[in-house]
């Protein structure tokens, strides 16, 4: 109860000043028959010490990826988060501030958002980015809605190798709108035949790079084909570290980039909160959903920052709004910006090289094992293995040995016949020792 300052005496005095006899008189508008008289059927208040103990007990029932070799990816990646990033987002003034509606006393949040927008635009090779979305999957869905608004067309084509959750979220988001998506089938080998589907009624083609199975591709030709047909190319990036080593979607001709920024600054946190990225060309900015921070000057001529272009948003346009999105991932985007600032050009590109080289070396070691085959020729830090046994069973056996050995493809694609496929991600957090453990455990199991 230490969060509430009033004593019983003070409450009595305040009730008197308000002019009511008891606290119940403040709740008279609630229909009498629905008012609760007793307490809710829940435990009574607990001390800080007891609360902490409860959570330690819960934490103890989980296997922490920091105490086990971890090769899990599939759209969420374990990277080292510098202590400075976590420290700074716990600064009271960032942590406990609201949306920067009063710019004169919110310049800290606003300038950080402006820096975030700039970093995301630079990394994706796009002209502008917004001040973050809920996560990569919702950003992907919003990108499709945005492409439909831009092109005034109603159909999207989704790559079969888009992260299955991203496809699901996009399908869910579109289901009650006038827009629809054609979903191609996942493909392990070869190119997808987008051309067969691109016509005059297509708003956009959505591809992922690296794709769900880890393969990387140059989409420059696809971008041209989209543009020839008046459609947009949406490129989804859910391992943002890859862009330290790869051509950016902007260089390939993408019109919208929908990304997941969790890899930079944001802990795995069992899937959320993460930080959705959305970047595009300047000419489409008024169709872009979410918050935008812009530079301006104050009445003394000093540079300052404000939320801007809010005429697109729900609090002005209501049912005609660009999107119903209200909140953003502010604190996570701050963590992203701090981590990215610490990395800089040198660190970000080097981090990408380390991820790539560790993954490439590990892939060779694994490919040499009996019963293991690396399927994809190209990849960044994640690749797909075909095992001689059921991947879910193998993962359980590895977990029993204290190794988080990868994500069975069947967990995300239950309909496809992919029982023997395993996604393995290797980042800078995988030590040589961890990789040895995985290799020897797999040798034993298979």
């Amino acid at each position: 109860m230490r969060y509430m300052p009033h004593t019983a005496d003070e409450r009595a005095i305040m009730l008197q000043e308000i002019g009511v006899g008891s606290v119940d008189d403040l709740f008279v508008d609630i229909p009498a028959e629905a008012r609760l008289t007793g307490l809710l059927d829940l435990p009574l208040h607990a001390s800080e010490m007891d609360v902490e103990k409860n959570f330690r007990t819960l934490a103890g029932k989980n296997l922490s990826p920091y105490s086990a070799p971890c090769f899990l990816g599939a759209g969420a990646y374990q990277h080292h988060v510098p202590s400075v990033a976590d420290h700074l987002i716990q600064r009271s003034e960032f942590l406990t501030a609201y949306t920067p509606y009063q710019p004169e006393i919110s310049q800290g949040t606003l300038q950080a958002l402006f820096e975030f927008q700039t970093q995301v635009a630079l990394i994706t090779g796009m002209e502008v980015a917004n001040a973050s979305m809920y996560d990569g999957a919702t950003s992907c869905a919003e990108s499709v809605l945005m492409a439909c608004r831009v092109t005034r067309r109603k159909k999207a084509i989704l790559s079969g190798n888009l992260h299955p959750h991203y496809r699901d979220v996009t399908r869910t988001t579109l289901q009650f709108t006038e827009f629809e998506a054609t979903e191609l089938s996942p493909t392990l080998e070869g190119q997808e035949d987008f051309e067969a589907h691109i016509g005059k009624d297509i708003a956009c083609v959505v591809v992922q790079n690296p794709d769900f199975f880890g393969r990387v591709q140059d989409f420059t030709d696809l971008a041209e084909k989209c543009h020839d047909a008046g459609a947009l190319l949406v490129v989804v990036v859910n391992e943002i570290v890859s862009l330290g080593a790869m051509m950016s979607p902007g260089e390939m001709g993408a019109d919208i980039v929908a990304g997941e920024g969790q890899s930079i600054g944001v802990p795995l946190s069992f899937g959320g909160p993460y930080v959705g990225l959305l970047a595009t060309r300047q000419k489409y900015v008024r169709q872009m959903p979410g918050r935008l921070c812009g530079e301006t000057v104050d009445q003394d001529g000093q540079r300052g920052f404000v939320l801007t272009l809010s005429t697109r948003e729900q609090h002005i346009r209501r049912e005609k709004a660009t999107s119903n999105i209200c909140t953003n991932a502010g604190l996570c985007s701050l963590a992203f910006t701090v981590h990215m600032s610490l990395l800089g050009e040198t660190g970000f590109t080097n981090l990408a090289k380390i991820n790539h080289s560790e993954a490439a070396a590990t892939a060779e070691l694994l490919n040499a094992l009996e019963g293991v085959e690396v399927i994809n020729d190209t990849f960044f830090n994640e690749f797909t293995l075909r095992l001689s046994a059921n991947a879910s069973d193998v993962v359980e056996k590895l977990a029993a040995k204290g190794i988080l050995g990868g994500v069975p493809v069947s967990r995300l694609l239950p309909d496809a016949e992919v029982d023997n496929l395993l996604l393995v991600a290797v980042t800078e957090t995988c030590a040589a020792d961890d990789i040895e453990k995985l290799v020897s455990a797999l040798k034993e199991i298979l």
């Binding site: 508008d29 899937g271 502010g330």
Partner: protein
């Protein structure tokens, strides 16, 4: 003076103004320390993170290797730390002072919540770990679901929505899915005028036509107008209760009955749940779906705009349509239902990758456990007590558009500023100079020049008294004809009033490298 390519100063230009006696060479003023953009700092090759040399292996990137630089600045760790600490000091926050922003619920953010959210085995779990290795995490989600269902008196809850507006989308999608399952193609959603702007936007995203219902003289929804608009083609109503005027919709049960009579569903915007915790359960009022903003009612920090978390409680009628995933409990412990099949076959689909905002779940559950059943009820009582204390403390100087007791927020309008030349906005900016975050202004839209003040339960009587005193001082100052003072406010903030019109007319949404980049000047600006 350095100008960027938009012709604006890249650094504060106070040293170039006439009143040089009050200016400094650096633009800093003692503890008021400025910082340039991160892109205007740094020297190529500096490192803020130690790293090993990459192994030498042949590239597997095919023909997609990066050939061009990105353009990020290189800085050391202390430079980055100092940059963001300086930025942080230009922010107002709930830890800095009173933040009576109505409809936003800026309450104390306990640090134990931050501590437990970072425990090894909670904050670091991968969402795709084998279910056998995350039994504690699933138990935690199940516990939180139990608390939410008990507090609201509802049988089911969808945990995955990422924010309040995302929760609204979840609730309305469940409504539409339920109608479609019955083969009904209903067209309209009714939304009171005073609703949050996300309500109509959400209904539109679900393919509904939105119809507004006016308010009565007493600030509640006009039941007569409502009944006229109701019909067999109405899919549902979206009501906020307590509403955005800070009032409890006392006809709520009647509204629920009317909605159900025409076969529609009752969506309740739960943004203001903190006012009724432990005093009434929405399930007992006939609600079919309601999102709960964990970041408001249950104290997870707002973080300058997010992340949020918006679980949605559902009635029996809507429960089967809930989005995936959800946690189940069987003989072998906890499990996750992650696909639309079997027991989830009526689900309307997936709203978000993975399982929801776990980081926020942890914080919210820690807050709930800290308070318990007794504390939750006290939260509502003190939040409402504090709002009414402010209402009474100011009602001889500010006009309340609606009579009587308010819930957790007190609403005033600008009629008492009439003829003073001072606007609601001016008053808000003057509050900044007094050391307060301004209240919510110009919302709800149904009240001209609205000022919505929400103190929350975590504020002491001394804080409320000082705030009331400051407001009275400013209102007297306005009546004394000091409009110029207000027009120039804030006087003491890190920035004076900012040109928002200019920002919208000529949007500058990112930093762009200067075309003629004199390195010496860049280095100078980075020297601090």
């Amino acid at each position: 003076m350095m100008l960027n390519n938009q012709g604006r100063p890249t650094r504060p230009n106070t040293s170039e103004q006439d009143n040089s006696a009050t200016n400094t060479f650096t633009g800093n003023k003692a503890l008021e320390l400025e910082t340039p953009l991160i892109f205007e700092q740094g020297v190529p090759g500096r490192l803020g993170v130690d790293m090993t040399e990459p192994k030498k292996v042949s590239s597997r990137l095919g023909n997609t290797a990066r050939s061009k630089p990105i353009g990020l600045p290189d800085l050391s760790e202390p430079q980055v730390l100092r940059h963001f600490v300086r930025l942080s000091r230009q922010n107002y926050s709930i830890d800095s002072g009173f933040y009576p922003l109505g409809s936003c619920t800026m309450k104390h953010n306990p640090r134990i919540n931050e501590k437990v959210a970072r425990l090894a085995g909670l904050g670091d779990l991968h969402p795709m770990q084998p279910v056998s290795t995350v039994q504690g995490a699933l138990e935690l989600i199940d516990d939180l679901a139990h608390w939410l269902k008990t507090i609201t008196g509802m049988p089911a809850v969808a945990m995955s929505p990422a924010a309040g507006a995302h929760g609204e989308l979840c609730g309305v999608m469940a409504i539409r899915a339920a109608h479609e399952a019955k083969g009904e193609a209903r067209k309209r959603i009714l939304v009171p005028e005073s609703a949050h702007g996300t309500n109509p936007a959400t209904a539109a995203l679900c393919g509904y036509k939105v119809e507004s219902v006016p308010a009565r003289e007493d600030g509640r929804m006009d039941l007569e107008a409502f009944s006229e608009k109701l019909g067999p083609d109405v899919a549902g109503v979206m009501l906020t209760n307590p509403n955005t005027c800070g009032l409890f919709e006392n006809d709520v049960k009647k509204i629920a009955d009317m909605v159900h009579e025409v076969g529609a569903y009752f969506y309740c915007d739960g943004a203001n749940l903190n006012a009724i915790l432990g005093r009434v359960r929405p399930g007992d009022l006939g609600v079919d779906a309601m999102h709960i903003n964990l970041h408001k009612t249950f104290s997870t920090p707002h973080g300058g705009g997010g992340p949020g978390s918006g679980p949605v409680v559902l009635s029996e009628a809507l429960a089967a349509f809930a989005p995936i995933p959800f946690v189940t409990h069987g003989e072998n412990g906890f499990d996750l239902v992650e696909h639309v099949e079997g027991e989830a076959s009526n689900s309307f689909g997936r709203m978000k990758a993975y399982h929801g905002q776990m980081g926020m779940f942890i914080r919210a559950l820690a807050y709930m456990q800290s308070h318990g059943a007794d504390g939750l009820r006290q939260i509502a009582e003190d939040a409402v007590l504090n709002a009414n204390y402010i209402r009474v403390g100011l009602n001889d100087m500010l006009h309340s558009p609606f009579d009587g007791i308010c819930m957790h927020e007190a609403l005033f309008d600008d009629s008492s500023l009439k003829d003073t030349g001072v606007t609601t906005l001016d008053l808000a900016k003057a509050m900044i100079d007094e050391g307060y975050h301004p209240m919510t202004m110009y919302f709800p839209l149904v009240v001209h020049g609205a000022m919505l003040i929400e103190p929350t339960e975590s504020e002491s009587r001394e804080t409320l008294d000082q705030f009331i005193g400051a407001m009275r001082y400013l209102l007297n100052k306005a009546r004394d004809g000091e409009a110029t003072y207000f027009a120039q406010a804030p006087h003491f903030a890190p920035r004076r009033r900012l040109d928002e019109t200019g920002a919208a007319r000529n949007p500058i949404l990112r930093w762009t490298p200067e075309e003629d980049d004199p390195q010496s000047d860049r280095t100078l600006s980075a020297a601090s």
